[in-house]
Amino acid sequence: MPFISNTDQQQQQMLEAIGLTMDDLFADIPDELKIKNLELERGLTEQELQVRLQALSGKNSTHLTYFLGGGFYDHFIPAAIPALAGRSEFYTAYTPYQPEISQGTLQAIYEFQSMICRLTGMEVSNASMYDGGTAMYEAMMMALRKTRRNKVIIDDSVNPIYRVMIHSYTQNLNIELDETKHSDGRANRDAILEQLDKETGAVILQNPNFFGCIDDFTDIAEAAHEKGALLIMCCYPTSLGILKTPGSMGADIVVGEGQCLGLPLSFGGPYLGVLATTRKLMRKMPGRIAAETTDGEGNRGYVLTLQAREQHIRRDKATSNICSNEALCALQASIYMSLLGKKGLKDIANLCADKASYAFDRLTAVPGVKARWGKNWFYNEFVIDLPTDATDVVSKLIEKGIAAGFPLSRYYEGMDNALLIAVTEKRTKQEISTLADALEAIL
């Protein structure tokens, strides 16, 4: 929609034509809620603005070596990805509202869905969502709609950022959220099985979880199904190059953050929400699916389908208030996955796991540093205990150009000295040594 400005004189003419004053138009808003004065500074010239913004951005610490993960990871992005995704026919297309004339975009979505299904071991994927957290919320609502229940069990080894999102989204809804406390870094099986009952609509778990620990949830999926509940599993797509898929563990809905698939770290997004499920549940899924079909002459073509519950069609019947997706991000992820291929994804996953394992050994050899949970299996991220406050250590290492990790005290009580460290395929042996040496020097 174009912005068409109008002058004071034109506004006056319009008001006269309808016989009202400007105050009449806003009569429904109580006086005390009307803004009297915004106290805005005078406008800046372009040059002044540039100087100010540059000064602000100059405060950021840049060119750090990242050992910081917690849901967003510093993976290598081949130059071909931004080059291809930046082609104007993809870059400028927002969302295919007239799908039949957007065959290229639809095919790209179709490929994305197909790859996500293969990666997660699920039958159906939607065309993407805002980010991992919104995907998790939507998955939870899907499960509750399907089971017609209102109790959710979520382990606190699920990314705390997602849990905060779920809490705030559901604050005014009639949903009972039961949080179980992890046990030695893994999902707390005993507590989950104990809480699971005929009122439970969904169990939400993550693999690898927020602490990087890997697990097999097949038993929990079976227990949940026995009680008529669904298992929602949050995954780290890259890890699926080597880990057992959520599908083979019996998950009903799989969600995840797709940033690791060729998208840059950008302080909040745009990121990529992944949501995949079973054929049985596809009608409850938000968003739409791009499907392959043939036209009247038998030519292959793509269509948007299963979109009867989309917001732009019938708002009151919509399954979600998110009606658009992250098509460009999904495209980037598709290019990443297709360039790497099955073997490449496996190689990346192995590199992450091996390098993290090396870093774990190297760091726990530093005097005073301990593994928090003994010999737990982890993927590319793990927790160490420092002899002192982890937040202080992280601040000191930033000055040396190292983002050492995520201090867990921010989200977990009693974990003041615990530091979550992520290692991707980008980290070199040298960088890992630099971290270990720097840590040793300040402890």
């Binding site: 017609r148 009608r283 389908t305 299963l306 979109q307 009867a308 519950r309 069609i313 019938r314 019947k317």
Partner: protein, 127 residues
């Protein structure tokens, strides 16, 4: 197509009354207008409904439409076959495409529905 012996609503639902049980579905005109039906969201068994309450939702390729209960009562049975074969509503809306059975709480409500002849007239006017 209008089947004799059934009752109809202005929203194009049909009702078949047998004793105190009312079987409900959507009329031929409705399934025709909706096009290819891809999904039917059935009500819960044992749910109490009042006349004109939303009973079910019928989805076609591009829309989701409400089906209103023509009658008050308790849902005693739903046509679960529609979960796998929603196209039955298109193929046989008065037979295998039925949606729900309701144990009527007030049989006099039937009198407020249209008979097949009245529906034919109403239908003619609407078209």
């Amino acid at each position: 197509m209008v089947v004799d012996g059934l009752y109809y609503t202005k929203e194009h639902e049909w009702v078949k009354v047998e004793g105190s049980t009312a079987t409900v579905g959507i009329a031929d005109h409705a399934q025709e207008a909706l096009g290819e039906i891809t999904y039917v969201e059935l009500p819960e068994v044992d749910r109490e409904v009042s006349a004109k309450d939303e009973l079910a939702v019928v989805e076609s390729t591009k829309a989701a439409s409400d089906v209103y209960s023509p009658i008050s009562g308790k849902v005693t049975e739903v046509n679960e076959a529609l979960e796998d074969e929603p196209e039955k509503v298109n193929e046989d809306c008065y037979g295998e495409g039925w949606i729900a059975k309701i144990e009527m709480s007030d049989a006099s409500e039937v009198e407020q529905l249209m008979t097949s002849d009245q529906y034919k007239d109403f239908f003619k006017d609407e078209v």
